[in-house]
């Protein structure tokens, strides 16, 4: 980071202190993103995006101000701090409840998560990146069991260098590589006209060695073959009161949507009320039973190589696992220092700012259902009528995260303990208490898998890289209309 303007960050803090601000932080972010778009086998665009800027956040008179700039001069810095300070004061004196931050340890640290040697985003040649996509596209076109009229891929990689300094003495420097892949594939049965689509999403911190880790060629071939089978072979999904067994992707999305988002303390406090919404959870519900004994949901930013990896959050708090549900009991929320202070508790290291020009807000990192002891076969063997749902197409949930609907993609009928034919678009439309209350068994760790996806929240939107995952879980007596 030779050309990193550390000095300007330090001067930002000094200037804020000279103004008498009780708190000021500055976050310098240097971001390089490379991306390629491949549409139906044609390379539509190669892009290189580069940004460098500083975001400043201050407290004054119980109000909060934020400003960002990318004209990295002393003059711009002073204007930015002056604005944040003036506006924080102007809105602060009007507040009945003053904004403050929870007391936390002051940390000084430096860490990184980089790709393997010669596999870091900027080390890999553009030809090699494009060849990956062209090869994936070729695999799809070689599948002949159904028509695949639409194929779309976008690969992105990034290196994010960050330097956070606060007036309390926190100083965190980090460098993280990430790779992402998005794809959309459509299969059509030309006889019946049945159509199905699968979104391919992979994401990980690290470099291009991740594609080997994902075994992408096998993954894509498998996804396309299954999609082709769904449009040609799938039968209607069962209805009535049935059991479900959900696979890793399905578990990942329900953990994220039905328990991750409602556990965000800023939502519980109403701070996202006009955008992402509030929460069915309340502060006073901590310790209450929200699910069965079988359900423990963890969010852990410290998982090495994960898409949501970080060791210190964007307020400099050392990261740690959060237990959203522990054996069915509501235990932890996602707190930044602001929400923690309002609830008279400590931060749970959930503050994330996606870019120099965004404020740190409470976010998930890597959310998953803790594995249990069962084999997949044991989950299925006593089900009379049900469905095994591996992944999903539609996910839909209200802003309190109480009424959810999921539509399965790869899904199989379970009858008398046996997995049988593919079924089409099974619907799971249940409340969150019903969802977690109906789980009676979870499969063991050897099945654990994660999806790397982008989570949306905030205004302006902040797309945060996260992992969602699990093994397999069984739900009993779900009513399907």
């Amino acid at each position: 980071m030779e050309s990193f303007p550390y000095e300007l960050v330090e001067k930002t803090i000094e200037y804020g202190q000279d103004l008498g601000l009780p708190y000021i932080e500055a976050r310098l972010v240097d971001l390089s993103i490379n991306s390629t778009i491949l549409k139906n086998g044609v390379p539509e665009l190669g892009s290189l995006d580069r940004s460098l800027g500083i975001g400043v956040r201050v407290l004054r008179e119980g109000g909060m101000g934020f400003s960002s700039f990318n004209n990295l001069t002393l003059d711009s810095m002073k204007k930015a701090v002056d604005f944040a300070a003036k506006m924080a004061g102007e809105i602060g004196w009007r507040r009945k409840t003053k904004i403050s931050f929870s007391d936390e340890n002051v940390n000084v640290a430096k860490y990184s998560s980089k790709g393997d040697q010669n596999k870091r985003p900027l080390d890999v040649e553009p030809e090699e990146k494009l060849d990956l996509l062209l090869n994936f596209d070729k695999i799809i076109t070689e599948v002949k069991t159904a028509s695949i009229p639409f194929r779309f891929f976008m690969s992105l990689d990034e290196t994010e260098k960050k330097f956070i300094l606060t007036s309390e003495g926190t100083k965190i420097e980090s460098e993280i590589d990430r790779v992402h892949l998005y794809g959309l594939i459509t299969a059509v049965n030309s006889t019946t006209g049945n159509m199905e689509q699968v979104f391919l999403q992979k994401g990980k911190s690290g470099g291009y060695e991740s594609y080997d880790y994902w075994k992408m060629e096998d993954y894509i071939e498998n996804q396309v073959k299954i999609l082709s089978k769904i449009v040609t072979e799938a039968k209607p999904a069962p209805k009535g009161k049935i059991d479900y067994v959900l696979g890793p992707s399905m578990i990942g999305i329900v953990c994220h949507e039905n328990q991750g988002h409602p556990s965000e303390a800023d939502r519980i406090l109403g701070r996202e009320g006009a955008q992402a919404g509030e929460s069915y959870l309340k502060h006073e519900m901590l310790g209450q039973r929200l699910g069965s004994e079988a359900v423990t949901i963890i969010d852990d930013p410290t998982l090495e190589g994960s898409f949501g990896f970080y060791l210190y959050d964007d307020e400099g708090v050392k990261s740690k696992p959060r237990f959203l549900l522990k054996n069915g009991l509501f235990k932890d929320m996602f707190h930044n220092r602001e929400s923690a202070a309002f609830m008279n508790t400590s931060s749970t290291s959930a503050a994330r700012a996606i870019g120099y020009n965004r404020e740190p807000i409470a976010r998930m990192a890597n959310t998953y259902l803790e594995p249990g002891d069962y084999s997949k076969e044991e989950l299925i063997e006593d089900i009379k009528l049900g469905a095994l749902v591996i992944n999903f197409t539609e996910w839909n949930i209200d802003d309190r995260r109480y009424h959810s609907k999921y539509v399965g993609l790869e899904a199989y009928l379970i009858e008398n303990g046996e997995v049988k034919n593919l079924v089409r678009r099974p619907v799971i439309e249940v409340t969150t208490p019903k969802l977690w209350g109906s789980v009676d068994a979870v499969a063991k760790e050897s099945y654990l898998e994660f999806d790397g996806v982008m989570c949306g929240k905030g205004e302006p939107t902040q797309g945060a890289p996260v992992y969602c995952g699990g093994t397999y879980m069984r739900m009993r007596d779900v009513e399907v209309r």
Binding site: G46, L52, F66, S68, N70, N71, T97, P149
Partner: protein
């Protein structure tokens, strides 16, 4: 960093570099952005923000290979280095068969009224009071607490292309959303947006949010089934305007649209005409030129229910044997403003028209997601006030329902449009949309099981 914010020397340097790197065609845009935001929750301001930035956007073509860069770090070294790498990237890529050129100038550009607010600089000192007016109005209507956001923004863009487009453009904008609550399940929303501050009605937005919240008090669980629905402009801008937004050749080619092979087909009723209109005064999406420097205009997408065409850039237009509509997007064409021709009916008249059939009035929605884009099967969650209409009047508030239907069905089943044409843009609606309340027949409504 000297000369950092002087765009012309930077642009001159960029063009020299692009020429020396033997790019055949290029587009260079320099955008200065000064945006501010006030957010509030529980009737109190939660944060005030300001963003200033300068961004260089470059699109380059070399032997029919297409590359782009967006540089937010405007030091000479970084710009030069990025352009060098862009040149290498262009060499490394295969030919883009879908690229068929950029629009050739010189051009003359339309004049659009009400894009620059002469009172913009004064607004900074009024923003807090305006938001407080909305909050207090919602309280007067019976709300207990309100949350929301106000943006105000000014952008200045300098644009030129190797095909003779040279132009500049400035614009201001305001976006205000307020959501008011009686309790966590009883809420209403108001939206007011535009380019001119005098067009933003903070009081009306606060009153609407408060009124709907108050009317929603005591709502019980609704029953699933088939309903006629009356969608407010906020909801219609999301799920009814989704179909004209889907009239995009890029979306069609990747399976992201339900309008493949439907040009010339009747997809809506005869009383439905929809434009993409970049020339609307006070339109948040209004702009005199597109991303190729091609002049913008008003393009009919749906006329009397018939899908007439898609939006296009030069490449997609050539591929479809038609002309650019001035909607470039360098990869995908982009909408400006979606405009629905309004009807003649008041909201009360729409309720009256639905007499005799189970009817819901839905004031806001959130989280539209698809089972399949290509056949348009989706769900969305109504939030804030949902009302059961009986005998042409609001009978009672209901809750906990979901629209689960197909985009083509609900579009086909449009019965009547209101006259309350409103510009909508908020967290859930990203394309500025001018649309009235709309009555739709036979919409599938579901709910979660306990």
């Amino acid at each position: 960093m000297e000369g950092f914010l002087e765009p012309f020397p930077i642009i001159e340097n960029v063009i020299q570099k692009l020429v020396s790197l033997k790019f055949d065609d290029y587009i260079v845009s320099f955008v200065k952005d000064d945006s501010s935001q006030l957010r509030f929750a529980d009737n109190q301001f939660t944060i005030a923000k300001n963003w200033t930035s300068a961004t260089l956007k470059i699109f380059g073509v070399k032997q029919q290979k297409t590359v782009s860069t967006e540089i937010n770090n405007l030091t000479t070294d970084v710009i030069d280095n990025t352009l060098e790498n862009l040149g290498k990237l262009a060499i490394a890529l295969p030919i883009n068969d879908n690229y068929l050129g950029i629009s050739e100038g010189p051009f003359s550009y339309p004049t659009i009224e009400q894009l620059i607010d002469p009172k913009y600089d004064d607004f900074h000192s009024k923003a807090v009071d305006n938001v407080e007016l909305a909050i207090n109005t919602a309280l007067e209507e019976g709300a207990k607490r309100s949350a929301g956001v106000l943006y105000w923004r000014k952008i200045e863009e300098i644009f030129l292309s190797s095909k003779g487009a040279t132009t500049q453009h400035s614009k201001t904008s305001y976006e205000f959303t307020i959501r008011s609550f009686l309790d966590s399940q009883t809420s209403g929303q108001g939206v007011s947006v535009g380019c001119i501050s005098d067009s933003i009605n903070f009081e009306k937005a606060g009153r609407q949010a408060g009124e709907i919240a108050k009317l929603s008090e005591g709502g019980g669980e609704g029953k699933p089934g088939k309903y006629n629905v009356i969608l407010s402009p906020t909801v219609a801008a999301d799920i009814i305007a989704a179909t004209p937004r889907s009239a995009n050749p890029f979306s069609v080619e990747i399976g992201f649209s339900w309008l493949k092979d439907k040009i010339g087909e009747k997809i809506g009723p005869e009383n439905l005409t929809v434009y993409d209109d970049a020339l609307l005064p006070n339109g948040l999406g209004s702009k005199p030129f597109d991303d190729e420097g091609h002049p913008t205009g008003r393009n009919v997408l749906i006329e009397e229910g018939i899908l007439k065409g898609f939006i296009h850039n030069t490449s997609t237009a050539k591929k479809a044997n038609t002309m650019s509509t001035g909607n470039a997007g360098l990869v995908s064409p982009e909408n400006s403003n979606i405009f629905f021709e309004p009807g003649n009916h008041t909201l009360d008249e729409l309720m009256e028209l639905s007499k005799g059939k189970p009817t819901l009035y839905i004031t806001s929605n959130w989280y539209t997601r698809f089972t399949s884009y290509i056949d348009g099967i989706f769900s969305t969650i109504p939030r804030d006030g949902i009302f059961l209409i009986e005998n042409g009047e609001i009978a009672k508030p209901v809750r906990e329902l979901r629209i689960s239907d197909s985009m083509l069905n609900i579009f086909k089943n449009i019965k009547m449009l209101g006259k309350d044409l409103t510009q909508i843009k908020w967290w859930e609606v990203y394309v500025p949309t001018f649309i009235p309340s709309i009555l739709i027949e036979d919409v599938n409504i579901t709910s979660a099981t306990n």
